[in-house]
């Protein structure tokens, strides 16, 4: 258990106070990211994964959102206590973020080069010529052919895959310690997605940075993550290393999710769908948020919300009846 945590989030609570009620988007989330590793954060819509990342970057629109409680320690400093001015020194510099839609994240009226240079000029003490050199360098590193020409092109002249590479170039231009990637490949074609994931892996090695990979795609998580946090309805319900998660999930949601997706390398007659709907953040159920859909739910689950606990070394789950899940898993193995 290394003490040099890059990011240490403790009991983060980010709520949105809207006309229709208070949305507890992130409700008591704790996790760590160590230098150089990839933490996968997986969950469906409304689970709070994006809000978590925006909270770390302090990009939550306030009002109506607010970090109600908790701390986000970055190299020991609590980001929730910094002013926006101090955060600006960190954003793009120590912690960078890339988003799902590269077209809307890039400014259409500036060249690609200008946008990469912007981050460099803000954070580094270099002149324009040097910044431009850096930008061309970055384009080369992210695999864009003829970078000296491309640097003067506009976003609309590039394809989706290229634009995502530009986003990555922008994010890495100042050599950040942490890259937050929020669904970076969801909008891309499969073959382009493969390119981008490979690029991110190689850059991670080159730059020695940590990645927080947020996605709903269990396949992507399996490919890139070292450790994984599974989120549901604003909370982390399971948290462990990637191999253990897939081989031995200890939360009914994770387990249900894995059973409900078609696997390219397996032949299934029928998918085991999780019944019910993803809960509405304005109207979360009482007790364990998953109880309305869980096959193992008991009365206790409908009243008491389980805390996340260590069920075996390095493996955390928030569930009252892990034993029931284990029993079902043995049953399946035996059958």
């Amino acid at each position: 258990m290394a003490e040099n945590k890059l990011i240490d989030v403790n009991n983060l609570k980010t709520y949105f106070h809207t006309e229709e009620g208070t949305v507890k988007a992130v409700d008591g989330v704790s996790f760590e990211i160590y230098p150089g590793e990839t933490l996968g954060v997986v969950g469906e819509s409304g689970c709070g994964k994006s809000v978590t990342s925006l909270s770390i970057m302090r990009l939550i629109e306030s009002p109506p959102g607010k970090i109600e409680e908790g701390e986000i320690l970055f190299n020991g400093k609590d980001l929730t206590k910094l002013s926006q001015g101090q955060m600006r020194k960190i954003r793009g510099n120590d912690i960078s973020m890339i988003f799902q839609e590269p077209m809307t994240s890039l400014n259409p009226v500036y060249t690609v080069g200008d946008q990469i240079m912007e981050a460099i000029l803000i954070h580094k003490n270099v002149n324009k010529k040097q910044a431009r050199e850096e930008a061309i360098n970055m384009l080369r590193k992210v695999g864009i052919p003829l970078p000296e020409q491309r640097v003067d092109e506009y976003p609309h002249q590039l394809s989706g895959g290229m634009r995502q590479r530009i986003m990555i170039a922008m994010a890495l231009s100042c050599d950040p310690q942490l890259l937050i990637a929020d669904e970076p490949t969801t909008a891309l074609d499969v073959t382009i997605q493969a390119q981008i994931l490979e690029l991110m892996n190689s850059l991670k090695a080159q730059f020695g940075m940590a990645i927080m990979m947020i996605t709903h795609d269990l396949g992507v998580i399996a490919e890139v993550s070292d450790r994984v946090a599974v989120m549901y309805a604003g909370k982390i319900v399971e948290y462990t290393d990637v191999k253990t998660l897939y081989a031995d999930p200890k939360h009914p949601y994770t387990w249900g999710l894995m059973h409900s997706i078609p696997h390219i390398e397996k032949d299934l007659d029928r998918l085991e769908a999780i019944p019910g709907n993803v809960p509405n953040p304005l109207d979360f159920p009482d007790g364990c948020k998953y109880n309305t859909r869980c096959p193992f739910a008991t009365d206790k689950c409908r009243v008491d919300e389980p805390d996340i606990e260590e069920v075996e070394e390095g493996h955390y789950s928030a569930c009252w009846h892990v034993d029931k899940l284990e029993a079902k898993k043995s049953e399946e193995k035996g059958a």
Partner: protein, 328 residues
């Protein structure tokens, strides 16, 4: 002929071009060859999966087959009739036999209509009920089939989740008791846990109502799960078509191979050979010469940039279009 009768839908040399207009007088300067000469058939009761990435023309193909877009050329044979030769009245009749489910559950339902009206509209259009009461009974029936209770009939689409809206869309398609349903990316916009519900629903409905599906998707895992045969499109052309197991065990076309290897597998211990393609998917306005895939193909030869490969049967109705295969 027994074999011909089995074929519910047969497409021959279908093309759909979109003109690119420029200038004050809107002159046509080029064409987007969205669908460029594809031919295939679907047997009654089977599911043909149609996969490809963005710009390959799969959605356009689906809509052209239903004549929601007018084909530029080709033949569409459905239940023995060439759809392209039907007049408005006959086409309307045909609409009872073939329906479509759309990808976006938020855009495909009229926000100002109640569920009862949405699902009942096809019944009204084709006069399948003699009174409002009968129509509403039929609607309640169909909603029940897709797992929605009758209490939902008076509600509006915005009150439902994505998965529920998709079920409403399915109910609407079923209302006329069609034989063919074209499902255009029906689960892509849904949450993972809901996708399984809708996929299961579609499979159950196929069994109960003897439906034939053209299942269009970009997610190969989903396509593999639900299809009997699979067709792969690239830039307006069919590059491979085979029985599901055949295609996934023995992909013959280099594009299919790279597509399969690109899919992230939900298993961290899974080892596989990664074929990472270079470059981007080119634009259908100005497709590469010869074989459209040649600029990105790891096995490209000289002939590939000169001549288009023929879509041939390599045994057991495993079709592919590739010069490399022809040479072997």
């Amino acid at each position: 002929m027994a074999v011909e009768q089995e074929r519910l839908l047969e497409i021959k040399n279908l093309r759909k071009y979109f003109p690119v207009k420029e200038g004050v007088f809107r002159k046509t300067v080029a064409h987007v060859k969205a669908v460029d000469d594809i031919s295939f058939y679907i047997k009654k009761g089977e599911t043909l999966g149609l996969v490809g990435e963005s710009g390959c023309g799969k959605s356009t193909a689906g809509r052209t087959i239903l004549r929601l877009l007018e084909a530029t050329e080709g033949e569409i044979w459905f239940e023995g009739k060439n759809l392209l030769s039907l007049d408005k009245k006959e086409l309307r009749e045909m609409r009872k036999e073939m329906q479509i489910i759309f990808q976006d559950p938020y855009a495909s339902l009229n926000p100002r209509m109640t569920v009862a009206d949405i699902v009942g509209e096809p019944i009204d259009i084709h006069n399948l009920a003699s009174s409002k009461k009968e129509r509403n009974e039929k609607v309640a029936d169909i909603l029940d089939t897709v797992g929605l209770g009758p209490e939902y009939m008076k509600r509006y689409p915005h009150e439902f989740s994505g998965g529920q809206r998709q079920r409403i869309g399915v109910a609407r398609a079923l209302a006329v008791d069609p034989t063919l349903i074209i499902a255009d990316e029906p689960v892509s916009a849904l949450d993972v846990s809901i996708q399984a519900q809708v996929i299961n629903l579609l499979q159950d409905l196929q069994k109960d109502f003897v439906l034939t599906y053209l299942f269009i998707a970009h997610d190969l895992s989903v396509v593999k799960h639900i299809s009997d045969r699979v067709a792969v499109m690239y830039l307006g052309k069919l590059v491979e078509l085979a029985d599901k197991k055949e295609l996934f065990d023995d992909p013959k076309h280099p594009y299919t191979q790279s597509l399969l290897s690109a899919i992230p597998v939900a298993d961290p211990t899974y080892e596989k050979e990664r074929i990472i393609l270079e470059g981007d998917v080119p634009s259908p306005v100005d497709p590469p010469s010869g074989c459209r895939f040649h600029p990105r193909c790891p096995y490209a030869m000289d002939v590939c940039s000169e001549k288009e490969p023929e879509f041939k049967d390599y045994g057991d109705e495993h079709f592919a279009a590739c010069h490399l295969l022809e040479q072997e």
